[in-house]
Amino acid sequence: MNRSAPRTLRAGRFARFARGSAGLLFLGLGACAVVPQNRRARLADPMMQSGEDRLDAHRKRKLYTSREAAAGGDGKTAGGGCGCE
């Protein structure tokens, strides 16, 4: 009983997580508007290009991955550095 309870809790959490992920993916894929090339001037502005500066992204990642157990795991490899990522 003691062993199965955490597993059930974990399974429920993963199920909620999977549903949430699917919902987010649906939100992204469902909006299939086509923006012509000649109307993308504002989208090409550097202010709209988040994550373009990889050095800035790295220093932000460093701030969080070495201080928060929940940082990482989303496309940036965990591990390395001080071992606490």
Partner: protein, 401 residues
Amino acid sequence: MARPARRFRLPAVLVAAAAFAAAPRRTGAAGTEPFEVDDILEPPPAVELELVQTRITAYEQKGYGFQSQAGPLSGPGSETLHVLQAQAELVARQGERVTHRLWVPVDVVTSASANATDRYYAEPDIVSAASAQTFGAEAEYEISLHSPAGPTWSGGVGYHIEEILNSWRLSLRYEQPFAEDNTTLAVGVNQVLDWFNRFDLGGLRIGRASRSSTNLNVSVSQLLSPTTIVGVGYGVTFQAGELGNTYNTVPSDDGERVLEALPPSRRRNAASASLTQWLPWRGSLRLSYRFYVDDWAVTANSVETELLQRVLPWLVLGASYRYHDQSAASFFTTRGSAAAPLLSADSDLDAFVSQTVGGSARVDLGAGRLGDLFLSLGCDHYFRSNDLRVNVATWASGFRF
């Protein structure tokens, strides 16, 4: 059925060979020199610099955590820490299809917690070490192959070294645009192998430990309108091996300290969504949300927003805010016993709320003799509910060619 075909094939090959041998030998333009390779093949496209930039960041951390031995035996120890981080990046393009990227970050860390000394085999002082320094450096190379209106493949290798740690990194990424680049799908896989020293409670090296981290991630970005971009992403990471730094401790029931003990594996999941909106007054707003869960019972929600405003044609000011709420790992405790199979007092694994406020300024100085010069300044203040504060200052400069 196969035999007649063979009969005809052999004479055909012989005829072709005879014709080749009998043909007059072609020579170069002067009539005497043989053809060079370049006369037949296109010369390889020249490598042209696209971006060169450097960034220096300073982190100042203050606070207390029960994992640190820099304090009373039963109480929290100091987590005071200073980091100076220098980064350099070089991006070069070879023709229309190939991009090279070289990135070198270097960290100098002064630490009040566990640390190494200058001599490799000397014992590190993990009890006080208030003025010790750790040096870490990394080099990463990435090559990207683009095909027109088709996919982009990127592969990268990296090596990280510290006095007590070596790390190797491999990455592969596939990016496919759809619907006239309105939608972009990206899939990436990363593998990291860490190899580092293991310490006992007194700071003696007692061998080596290793850790493997494998990460798979998928993301989609979508243009919603001429002023709106949305994106969603999901990543999963599997870790196995020694997942701690081996020198974190836990205050014990008997007034002493015991070493932290972590599970041998970890599965981490993170999903995120973001929206970037152009603002009519020459600005942009970015909102993002991230949900995280792992099998150590850590669950977290993070919300982040960034507002950028072009106040002059060459000056962009920015402001950012981040809110992060996380639960504790199931084995987190501030007082344990050596008999417990799993325990940690690491404040990073505790339940807490953290907030970050930041500001930035970017100056584009336009075309110079070498290229378009840009400068960037920024600062962040990070603070969280379990006694940790970090001030960050960063400065970058570079040329875009």
